[in-house]
């Protein structure tokens, strides 16, 4: 276990990642500009710890935090894991429930092939060993939204195990410092989701909706290789993108398709691990990072003031920004695991073990699925860097924001402008506007085609880059005008007529004799001032390099 020393203690090594909150569909908080709330949140943590770091007490040990995650991922499938009821978010209550999901007597589980394939694909993408034989178990607990009184899961022999997930973090202010990190994956197991409870405190009752009961989940168990909230959030974001690339889950945290439980403890490096707490049901990346960092700090404070950490389950109160003890867990909860008697072991095949007379409908072939794996995010990034010559961190941003890569590629396809110019416009201008108004890429009023047209005008030097910004602002208003129409209506095209420009230069020189004098007296700033004056006189329609050339000629510099 290589737990690196808690980062909070080193305020100088702030992690500056070009992070754009994954859930751009989540309209929480007020985001202004491309700098995310989260980065700001981090810096405030860093400031907090600056205080402690500046006056280290003698004999004080450093603390290291150890974070492990359990991630529940809802499989993207038409029907549930063991029944033919539909999987759909926000349907009328109890409309997507089969007799099996309601646990009526006499019903039996029938495994959904799609869920098995999704598990195998996810396991392969996460470098896991796929178990050719896995089995199902019952995990018992009492909860009203679990009508059978047990959940079918894979405790003893999961479908996939021993994998790893690689993710990248940027360190320091210089973007060049990029670190690749790995978190080991203990196992991936197939299991059922539970129903949903709505607590009506007023009438002291609980309303139960079983639509979600029995939906296929992948539980991805990470080894405790993470050391802070931010790292955990980045690892989960990477996993989320892999799942979305695979199509095995939509992994939308706002709709509960990806939920995270975090196990957290702190200890002094070199000493045994501390008692851990579990923070349950973290359903946004921002809260995940916040909850973990809060819990680490709480444990350190508790231990330093002579207290002790209880092995307990806590939940994150996002309004208060702290974790609170959650469930009554006096005594160890006994899940009474037992083999699921209604399901024989799940056997998977590969090219070598495939029986000749096998019914293809009944066979899941690991090798076949491996061949069908789509391009994964890490490969996509490498390809972008290679194909378009963009910076690695730009490739991260393009993938981080939902739909941005598709937008970028559509623009590239339709424009003559260089990829670097496109990257610049997409990542700076477009993303800035989107963030300002809290819009998803798909909601952008400027279409890829419109931006491509604008960049063509810019590329052919028909307009200046400041005019292009103006055109973009017009396009953003979305009144259906094309870039060319806006350019001609507002007379934004660059002055192509050299004679007219020369006249304009002459007129400007005539009306500003003092500036001309300064230029002649070799004041280096004066020429720029003169260029600026000519540009203003041209209503920003003149090319500054051309103006400079004419002026220099006229002033015979």
């Amino acid at each position: 276990m290589a737990a690196s020393v808690l980062r909070l203690i080193y305020p100088g090594r702030r992690w500056a990642l070009a992070w754009i909150d994954g859930g751009s569909r989540q309209r929480s908080g007020t985001q202004t500009g491309p700098a995310s709330n989260w980065a700001r949140g981090q810096s405030s943590v860093a400031q907090l710890s600056l205080h402690t770091a500046q006056k280290p007490r003698k004999g004080e040990h450093k603390w290291a935090a150890v974070v492990g995650l359990e991630i529940h991922v809802q499989i993207s499938s038409n029907s549930k894991l063991f029944s033919g009821a539909q999987v759909c978010f926000a349907a009328p209550p109890n409309s997507l429930v089969s007799f099996f999901d309601a646990s009526l007597p006499g019903t039996l589980p029938v495994l959904n092939r799609r869920c098995v394939e999704a598990a195998v694909m996810t396991g392969l993408a996460l470098n896991c060993h796929i178990n050719k034989k896995s089995s199902f178990d019952r995990k018992h607990y009492f909860y009203a939204d679990l009508p059978a009184g047990y959940q079918i899961t894979q405790q003893r022999l999961p479908i996939a195990a021993n994998g790893h997930l690689t993710y990248s973090v940027y360190m320091g202010k210089k973007r060049s410092q990029m670190a690749t990190k790995t978190v080991r994956i203990k196992q991936i197991q197939l299991e059922q989701d539970s129903g949903k409870s709505l607590h009506d405190d007023l009438r002291s009752q609980t309303l139960i909706d079983l639509n979600r009961a029995g939906v296929g989940l992948l539980e991805v168990v990470l080894e405790p290789d993470l050391c802070c909230g931010e790292e955990a959030a980045i690892a989960v974001r990477e996993l989320q993108m892999i799942l979305q690339a695979l199509g095995t889950s939509q992994a939308n945290m706002a709709e509960g398709q990806l939920r995270v439980d975090a196990n957290i403890s702190v200890h002094h490096p070199g000493e045994p691990l501390g008692v851990r707490t579990e923070v349950k049901n973290l359903n946004s990346l921002r809260f995940l990072a916040k909850a973990i960092d809060y819990e680490i700090q709480r444990q350190i404070t508790e231990l330093e003031s002579g207290g002790e950490i209880l092995n307990e389950t806590r939940s994150f109160d996002y309004k208060l920004g702290c974790t609170v003890p959650m469930r009554d867990k006096e005594g160890k909860q006994d899940y009474r695991f037992m083999p699921e008697p209604n399901l024989p072991p799940l056997v998977l095949y590969d090219a070598t073990s495939l029986p000749a007379d096998a019914d293809s409908q009944q066979v899941v072939n690991i090798d076949e699925l491996r061949d069908m794996l789509p391009e994964l995010p890490s490969t996509t990034r490498e390809r972008l860097v290679e194909q378009y010559g963009i910076l690695p961190e730009h490739s991260f941003t393009l993938l981080n924001e939902v739909g941005l890569l598709e937008f970028f590629q559509s623009v590239i396809k339709e424009t003559r402008a260089e990829p670097k110019k496109v990257t610049n416009w997409v990542l700076n201008t477009l993303l800035y506007y989107l963030k300002q108004q809290n819009l998803a890429v798909s909601e952008s009023p400027v279409t890829p085609a419109a931006l491509a047209e604008l960049l063509d005008l810019l590329d052919s030097k028909a307009i200046s880059s400041s005019a292009a910004k103006q055109v973009f602002e017009e396009l953003w208003k979305g009144d259906g005008k094309t870039a060319a129409q806006i350019v001609s209506e507002q007379q934004l095209e660059l002055m192509q007529d050299r004679e007219a420009l020369e006249q304009l230069c002459q007129a400007t020189m005539d009306s500003h004799p003092q500036v001309v004098m300064d230029v002649r007296n070799r004041n280096p700033k004066a020429i720029n001032k003169l260029i600026g004056l000519v540009r203003r006189a041209s209503l920003s329609r003149a090319d500054p390099t051309l103006i400079k050339e004419i002026l220099e000629k006229k002033l015979s510099l």
Binding site: N78, N94, L198, H199, D201, S204
Partner: protein
């Protein structure tokens, strides 16, 4: 499961033939039941009474009310009955998980074929609000727990 159940039945007479004292471990004491069955009766030390605190905890978890001393006694009897399994020597025996162990696990294609039977399902519940089942408040967070003891429901 079958195999194990059979073992219990068949082994007991054999053991009896060899004598109890040699076989019974330190905590297990196999006795004659005197109830006319061949299954052994096992008295685990300290397992015959369930402490009141444990009963309370179980009641809260399961949202049931044992209600009377009689019901608790029935629970204790059930535990004692199940504890007989501990008398079986399973050393070196691969557990049988399912009688279907050697069968292929049937895989269903991912089609929607069930559901849309809200009304029928809700007919099983004697308390319904709109299209929801109604349950008593279950495992709620600690601060809320103080004023709310779950009302007795299922027996």
């Amino acid at each position: 499961m079958w195999a194990r159940a059979l073992r219990v039945r068949f082994r007991t007479p054999l053991d009896r033939g060899r004598g109890f004292a040699s076989k019974a471990g330190p905590q297990e004491k196999v006795q004659e039941t005197g109830q006319g069955t061949h299954s052994p009766r096992l008295a685990l030390q300290g397992a015959d009474r369930v402490p009141a605190a444990k009963i309370e905890h179980l009641e809260r978890l399961a949202l049931v009310n044992f209600g009377s001393r009689e019901a608790v006694a029935r629970l204790e009897k059930a535990i004692a009955f199940a504890d007989q399994l501990h008398a079986v020597d399973t050393d070196g025996v691969e557990p049988l998980e399912s009688v279907l162990e050697d069968r292929c696990l049937y895989l269903r294609s991912d089609n929607v074929a069930e559901g849309n039977c809200t009304e029928e399902l809700l007919r099983n519940s004697h308390h319904v609000v709109e299209e929801y089942f109604v349950a008593p408040p279950g495992n709620i967070s600690l601060p809320d727990m103080v004023n709310k003891t779950p009302s007795p429901t299922a027996e």
